[in-house]
């Protein structure tokens, strides 16, 4: 644990135990989403599905990166991940991104976009809680939020909700979060 770093956050008025619970729940959401996206990606098949497979894969890899980036901050602040994987799964900040019963590309896209929207809400909340107080957690949550917003816009575009406004990744992943992974 980084004692002084935690003390600075406490002194700024942030409830560190609540913040840690949120960080752990969102870390659980990232790792479980990585798992569920593996199944969703595998089921994006056919002419329509194949074109989305690579996009789902980028979102999947970046969600795993988010988990990797969150873990050090959790331990710095004195938190820990649960020993039990099932417990970790069940405390996720977002519901499981299960394969839909009606296995169409559109239904899979709806699952993907809802998962991303849950993440956008979660990191917005962490940003709101830490802005101007816990600079390091804010910087991390903002970097993740940037990527989650892009994921949402990609899937939203394919659902006919309007243009995402940007291009796909070009051979790299996590342009915002990568600085926390080095």
């Amino acid at each position: 644990m980084a004692k002084v770093a935690r003390e600075m956050v406490e002194r700024s008025g942030v409830d560190v135990e609540k913040l840690l619970e949120l960080l752990i729940k969102n870390a659980a959401a990232e790792l479980t989403t990585y798992y569920y996206y593996t199944i969703l990606r595998a089921n994006l098949i056919g002419l329509e599905g194949e074109s989305l497979k690579e996009i789902a894969e980028v979102a999947r890899i970046e969600d795993r990166n988010h988990f990797e980036a969150l873990v050090p901050r959790i331990y710095e602040l004195g938190g820990k991940l649960p020993d039990n994987m099932k417990e970790f799964h069940d405390m996720s900040a977002c519901p499981p991104a299960n394969l839909p019963e009606n296995l169409t590309v559109e239904e899979i896209l709806k699952v993907l976009v809802e998962a991303e929207r849950c993440a956008v809400r979660g990191y917005t909340q962490i940003c709101n809680m830490t802005a101007g107080k816990d600079h390091r957690t804010y910087d991390l949550a903002l970097a993740i939020l940037n990527e989650e917003i892009e994921h949402e816009s990609w899937f939203s575009e394919f659902l006919g909700e309007g243009p995402s406004g940007h291009f796909m990744r070009r051979g790299e992943t996590s342009p915002f979060v990568s600085k926390f992974l080095k």
Binding site: L19, A93, G122
Partner: protein, 84 residues
């Protein structure tokens, strides 16, 4: 429809097998079966058995996330009853 006082509502905190109820704008909703209310706790910040009318204003989502749950009663003494 059952009427709940704020004290009675607190009993439905989702812990030890109890149902998880929350109040919003005068109505009481059953969130027991929601993944996001496991153990009567929501996102580290809210507990079941509470009136979330004020709390929702700080949340990163709108009331549509509450209105989808089944209504199980009315919160007595609420001055902000939706649809009254």
């Amino acid at each position: 429809m059952r009427k709940f006082t704020r004290e009675e509502l607190k009993e439905f905190n989702g812990k030890n097998g109890k149902p998880a109820y929350i109040a919003y704008r005068g109505k009481v909703y059953d969130v027991s079966h929601s993944f996001l209310w496991k153990g009567g706790r929501h996102q580290a910040l809210h507990e079941a058995g509470e009136d979330l009318t004020e709390g929702l204003k700080e949340a990163p989502h709108g009331e549509e996330f509450i209105l989808k749950f089944p209504v199980v009663g009315i919160l007595e003494s609420s001055t902000d009853l939706e649809g009254r």
